[in-house]
């Protein structure tokens, strides 16, 4: 907006404002009705759904799949999608959210046209609607994919189809068992406190992997119970890890 447009706006606004009503009580009345609605909704939700408390935090046994609160789903989904685009991996994680934040901050500085009626701001309308649909879609798909921790790897192309099935089954066990809280596998998981498992098949033989899982060094939890209660899952896990090379 140039100086003339600014003055034009201020002049027009002062006429509109003078023709308006006092804030108290007219706007205050609407705000109060809305405040009552907000309180009723909060109390209704609280009384209906309560607040649950899960099992106590235990840094040593992580058979728990971490999930953020729903309003972070879209963020985790962005990270998950970006991680699968290898070229962007490094800057993707927080780079994309950071860029979005900066764009949001600077909005009044790059959108400088004096037009305010959304019908005559096609770019803003398109950008706004796209953002809303993208956020809704990401929240929805974030809610429906497993946790941000679930593993998402491409099996090596040399595998036969039955090996491929084992690969997928073991991958699922890794996701359920929370290994990614401490290990990184490819682009998934946290780097530390455990060593990366991306190519663990080249370092350890299957027997060594199995015995590490049964008798690990602290802080890694033992998966001996899994081996006893569900040997098939355990074998899939071990085979999956030895295919990682």
């Amino acid at each position: 907006m140039n100086q003339a447009e600014k003055e034009e706006y201020l002049r027009e606004y002062s006429i509109l404002k003078n023709a308006g009503k006092p804030f108290f009580p007219y706007a205050v009345a609407k705000d109060s009705v809305m405040a009552v609605v907000v309180m009723v909704v909060i109390i209704f939700l609280a009384a209906m759904f309560g607040a649950e408390l899960g099992p106590k935090a235990d840094p040593t046994t992580t058979t728990y799949v971490p999930r953020p609160d729903w309003y972070f789903f879209f963020l985790f989904e962005v990270l998950r999608v970006m991680k699968n685009v290898p070229k962007f991996t490094d800057m993707a994680t927080i780079g994309v959210p950071t860029i979005c934040m900066i764009l949001l901050f600077l909005l009044p500085f790059y959108d400088r046209s004096p037009e305010r009626w959304i019908g005559r701001r096609p770019v803003a309308l398109a950008a706004g609607l796209t953002t809303i649909f993208a956020m809704a879609y990401l929240t929805y798909s974030g809610a429906n994919t497993g946790s941000p921790n679930s593993v998402d790897l491409n099996p090596p192309s040399s595998l036969t189809s039955s090996q491929r099935a084992t690969f997928r089954a073991g991958e699922a066990v890794v996701g359920q068992s929370g290994c990614l809280a401490c290990h990184v596998i490819g682009h998934n998981g946290n780097n530390g406190p455990g060593p990366p498992l991306t190519a663990i098949g080249t370092i350890l033989r299957p027997q060594a992997i199995a015995s590490t899982l049964r008798n690990p060094t602290a802080p890694m939890p033992s998966f001996a119970d899994l081996a006893k209660d569900n040997p098939e899952k355990f074998n899939n896990l071990v085979n999956f890890l030895s295919m990682l090379q």
Binding site: K17, K21, I42, I94, G95, M101
Partner: protein, 268 residues
């Protein structure tokens, strides 16, 4: 300074002019003094603070014609924040930021044993979701109405900071119950922060209170969640509201000013 509009009180509530003879020149009788006690107190305070001008400026300013229900979303967000503040104070009366088990135990006590504890905790939890929905709706209203344009750019920037701080409240509060879900989600969250550009690693060291997730991490999240960020949010809401009052609420973009000759004359 232009003359402020008079409070729009109904006739019966407006101060009645004194009848002749009433309270002539004589001393103030005790009954009269008692009748006027409220006014006297207000006068006493106002004589020392001159607050009434500010309150009139805030309440009796005009808002343009055509203000609709979308304009209540900002104050609705503020009410959700007040709900968080009040329920949060009650939770803090019972909560202990003790990673060795005290934190979980105190939240269990609030949920299962304390009188209305489950309700207050649930109101805090659901209030957070409601506040986040409202803040996004408010932002959408401002965006589609073009209300961030000149002269309200700074109001918008303060708003974006409020949005980030509100999300940060959601993130730091999530750890406090210290159950499996909150513990592991927070570890993952902090590690993701650590991969961010430039300040990422410093930010996650700051959040963890060191390179590892340890016993002081919880106290740190607690202090950030209940002192640092709420203080910042309250101060910034103050600045946001000051600017809104100073600049006036934008008119809906479909309303155009009519050159009303009568209005012009009355202004002169």
């Amino acid at each position: 300074m232009p003359k402020l509009p008079a409070p729009p009180l109904p006739k019966s509530l407006q101060p009645r002019p004194k009848r002749p003879g009433e309270n002539g020149n004589g001393a103030v009788r005790p009954v009269e003094a008692a009748q006027e006690a409220g006014i006297t107190v207000v006068d006493w305070i106002d004589e020392r603070t001159s607050l009434s001008g500010g309150i009139r400026w805030l309440l009796f300013r005009k808002v343009p014609k055509g203000i609709n229900w979308f304009y209540t979303l900002g104050s609705a967000t503020m009410f959700a924040f007040l709900n968080q503040a009040v329920t949060g104070v009650f939770l803090a009366m019972f909560y202990r930021p003790d990673a060795a088990g005290g934190a979980y135990e105190s939240v269990r006590y609030i949920t299962d044993d304390a009188f209305l504890g489950q309700l207050v905790r649930a109101m805090h939890k659901w209030g957070a979701s409601v506040m986040i929905i409202l803040i996004f709706l408010h932002m959408a209203r401002v965006f589609f109405f073009g209300a961030y344009k000149y002269p309200r750019e700074l109001t918008w920037i303060i708003g974006v900071v409020l949005l980030i701080l509100t999300l940060a409240m959601g993130f730091t509060g999530y750890l406090l119950p210290f159950d499996q879900r909150s513990y592991w989600a927070t570890i993952v969250g902090v590690n993701i922060n650590g991969t961010g550009p430039f300040i990422g690693p410093y930010l996650s060291d700051f959040l963890r209170a060191g390179p590892e997730f340890g016993a002081t991490t919880l106290s740190r999240f607690y202090a950030i969640h209940m002192m640092l960020i709420p203080g910042l949010i309250a101060a910034l809401i103050g600045a946001h509201l000051y600017l809104i009052t100073k600049l006036g609420i934008s008119a809906p973009p479909w309303i155009k000013a009519q050159e009303d000759p009568g209005l012009r004359e009355s202004q002169v």
